[in-house]
Each structure stands twice: as C-alpha cells, then as structure tokens.
Subunit: 287 residues, 2 copies
C-alpha cells in the first residue's frame, strides 16, 4: 500500500496542465487540493484488482491517478456551503475555507475534466481500454452514481431513511466509484468478463462495508484521528447504519459484508491477497 | 442550422442515465437544464466542420450532444451566486434560482461526466476517434481552457485588463470550447492533420469574434432579446472589448476576425460553405 501511495505521489506533477500557465492563485488552490491526500483507497483498490489478474503492476498508474482526482473533486464540491458545509477535511481547512467558493467549484470542475484527459492520454493503455475505462468512470461519477448519491444524501438529511434507502444512497454516493476503481484495475490488467464480475461482487460489498465503518467511526473516533469533524452525523440527525442497526449491529454488518467480499474472490489464488488485505483494512481501520 | 438543432433535440432523451432511477427533483432539474436550449453554436460548428471534410453528416451526433452538455454545465456553474451570480439565462430563471445551489452544482457535475460517457459510448465512432475527442474536449474544458478562463474572468471583475489580457481570458473561457467543437467535427469526419490546423485557425478567430460580439450586444441589445440581463458588464465594471476599443472599434475588430477566419478556409471549396455562413451568423447575430 505504501508503494502504491508513493507511486501515485510521483504522478501528482502531471496533473498540472502542460499547456498555458495557470493564474497563481488557481495553481495554489490546485496544489492545496492535491497535496492534501487521504488514504487513497481507490487507487490502491485499482492496483490490487490489477494484481489479482496479472503481475504487470507497472501498466497503468495514470488510471489510478484519474480515480483519485475524481474522488478529490467530489470531496471539494461536497464540502461546499451549499452542500455539506464542512470546514475541515483531512485535518486541514476545506478548499473553500482556505480559498473561496468560486475557486473550490472551479478546482473541482477542472479536476473532473483532468481525470478523463489523463486516461485518454495514458501512453500504456490501448484505445479500447481507455474507452472502456472512461465509460465506467464517467457512469460511476455521474447521475446514476456519485452525483446522484450525493443529491439523495443532501435531500435526506434530517429525514428518516429505511435501511434499504440508506444502502441505495451509499451504493451510489461512494459505492459506485469504489466499484469503478476495481473495474478499472481489472480492465487495465486484461480481465475476462467472468473475472470482472467476480471483482465487481467483491467491490460492491467492500463499498458498502466502507460506509458502514465510516458511520461507526463517526461515533467511536475523534476529530483529530478522523481529520474531519467527529459526531457530525448525529448532530445533523443523519440516517446512518449505527442509527438504524445500533453500534453492535453495524459492526456485525461490516463483518458480514467483508465475508461476502472475500467469498467473491474464492476462485482467485495468491494473486488476490492484496485485495483481501485491503478488505480487512477497510473494515478494521481507525480513520 | 435548423436541421442540426432538430437532430440534437431528438438526442436529449439519451442524456438521462439508462440505469437506476433518479430522484424526481434531480430529474426535474436536469430536464429544466436540458430544455432551456440556446443557439447551440457549438454542435452546429461541429457539424459544419465535419461537413467541410466529408459528406457523412449522419456520423456522429453523440459528440455534438457532448459539446452542448459541457457548454450547458459551464453556464449552470458560472451562474451560481459564488461565481457570476446571474438570475436569468436564456430568458428563464437560472437553475439555482429555479431549484437551489446544491442542485445546480450537482447537475453541472453530472452533465460533465455524462458528456464524456456519451462520447465513450458512441456507437458510430472508432475507439481511436473517441480517445482523441475526449482528450481534446477535456483539455478545452479544464484548467488550461474553460475552467481557467472562468477563474481569470472572476478575478478580473472590477480590474483594468489590457486588451492582450482580455483576449487571453476569452481564448480560454469561450474560445477553447469553440475550437474543440470544430476539432471534434474534423476528427469525426477523418480530417488530416493539415485540415485540422486550418479548421483550428478558423475556430480560433471565430471564437474571439464571438466574444467581441457578445460585448457589443451587452451594450446594444436589450434584456428580452438577449435572454440574460443586459448592461451587466458595464454595471459590474467588467473589462470588455467595447470598453477597451470603443463600440466602433469593437465592430471593426469583429469584422477583422471574421475575415481572418474565412481566409483560413481558402483551401476548402463548397464543402466549407456552412462554416463560412456560421462565421457570418456569429458576427451578425442580434442575441
């Protein structure tokens, strides 16, 4: 995981546009956004999925970068006052706090465009792989995925959600991009359709587990460890797994989802060990 | 031009995501955004550029749709209170006025993703064409293009800009997407590199002329004809071509740019007539 992160870190300079010069403040805001990296779960899932299919680890760092850029843009927009109105992200002031709302909207917009550009421009992928990746990533990022899920989340704040509705919301809001991360890793490594289906079943359950654990941490952790304001869900009366299932119920749910995810990898051998390890990390993490 | 518009209109239903069901309000906002169509200059430029290269007009409606979606998303975000704070767009309340800021941010974000997805999914284009188009469109939409230009525009409001700085800002803010529209049309029609260069010279000058005329109309037209608030540039003390060159100076500048654009098409015959006509339309339009 550390090696994945350091490979990704080495790629950050390629995010700045090659042509033209950016206004100094926009460049500063972009640097601020890129240098506040988190757990990088999505790029790591991407590498791990690729590893499960083939040893060719060096094949496709650009797609990993694109996944992280889409995730970064979504956090920047979600934090805006018009959306979740968050002041803290990964232990630092959110982008619109450090700069302003207009800059945050534009940095998010630019990062989304850059993500697709970076895949289209990746030297080590075939045109067919790029098109498939862009299709998967765009669908996961858009109305039927991340954007739609964020919309439902905002509309649901303060309302009672059923467990089914909560699952459906998270499947869109965070699940879709996690599934896309694993799918892109498979595509980069030349996975068969059957392998992609198995990887997707793994990713679907890991994605749900990720959110269950997020809800648990919002109750059990503290602001400093989390890098974002602790207790915000309860304060805003948000529907969470903890609220609907209780703390212990949510913890067994996370374990149940992890087991389902691991079962989907049964036909993979040693090569899927990194995916398995990541599943356990996602469920056992402390922030 | 009417035929282009009606072909595009017939494609709007394909913008809604095929999988999953959108929340009713998000769907309503998306419909509101899509049904408030403007002059559709970008798709028409795309078709006209394709026509200049080849007769195969039916080849590639999807890329035209993608261009219009990127343009639509940019208007929605630019109109936000944190940006230009506009209440009127194409004669109707702006999206954030009719709905709210969060919805407007998310509809814009979703439209951007959908634009790239639609190109990646276009049945009539080769993988190589799609990748080339996505690269050109993403670059034009991003930091080195539209997003960067909008940033400079916001930062410049109320400041004195030189003519060179004003041109550089518009080349990014609106020029880049206009050039991309023409480039995509060329790519769809299989243009040679030399043909793409000639088309780009045309597009560069048409793009600049487009903005000069916008500035003239902001002074000479009225709110009803424009469909947006007239006189806003002067009211906000914005740098414009009219302010820097005078009304007559701006009018000769528009003519000079049109002539340069037309000269770039000298090696094309009859097939480029639609491009020429569009150039004249852009300079002579009343709104």
């Amino acid at each position: 995981m550390d090696r994945c992160r350091s490979r990704l870190q080495g790629q950050l300079n390629s995010v700045y546009p090659a042509s033209g010069s950016l206004p100094a403040n926009l460049l500063a805001a972009l640097e601020y956004a890129l240098n506040n990296s988190g757990k990088q779960v999505r790029p790591i899932l991407y590498f791990a999925a690729g590893r499960a299919i083939s040893e060719a680890e060096q094949a496709s760092i650009k797609a990993a970068l694109a996944l992280e850029l889409i995730h970064t843009y979504s956090l920047i927009h979600d934090d805006l006052p018009a959306m979740d109105d968050d002041e803290l992200r990964r232990g630092k002031p959110t982008l619109h706090k450090a700069f302003d709302d207009a800059t945050a909207i534009l940095v998010g917009d630019g990062l989304q465009a850059r993500a697709f550009e970076i895949i289209a421009d990746a030297p080590e992928l075939s045109a067919e792989q790029k098109v498939k990746m862009i299709k998967v990533l765009a669908e996961a990022s858009g109305f039927a995925g991340m954007v739609g899920g964020q919309y439902v989340d905002i509309q649901s704040t303060g309302k009672d959600l059923s467990l089914a509705a909560l699952r459906a919301m998270h499947a869109m809001k965070t699940g879709a991009l996690i599934r896309a991360s694993v799918a892109l890793g498979g595509i980069a490594a030349g996975a068969s359709e059957a392998q992609l289906v198995a990887l997707d079943t793994y990713a679907e359950h890991i994605g749900l587990a990720f959110q269950v654990v997020d809800d648990i941490l919002d109750v059990e952790s503290d602001t400093q460890t989390l890098g974002k304001t602790q207790g915000k869900d309860e304060q805003e009366n948000k529907a969470t797994y903890v609220k609907l299932m209780g703390l212990e119920g949510a913890k067994s749910e996370a374990q149940r989802l992890l087991e389902k995810a691991l079962a989907a990898l049964n036909d993979f051998g040693e090569s899927a060990e990194m995916l398995r390890e990541l599943g356990r990390y996602i469920v056992d993490r402390k922030h």
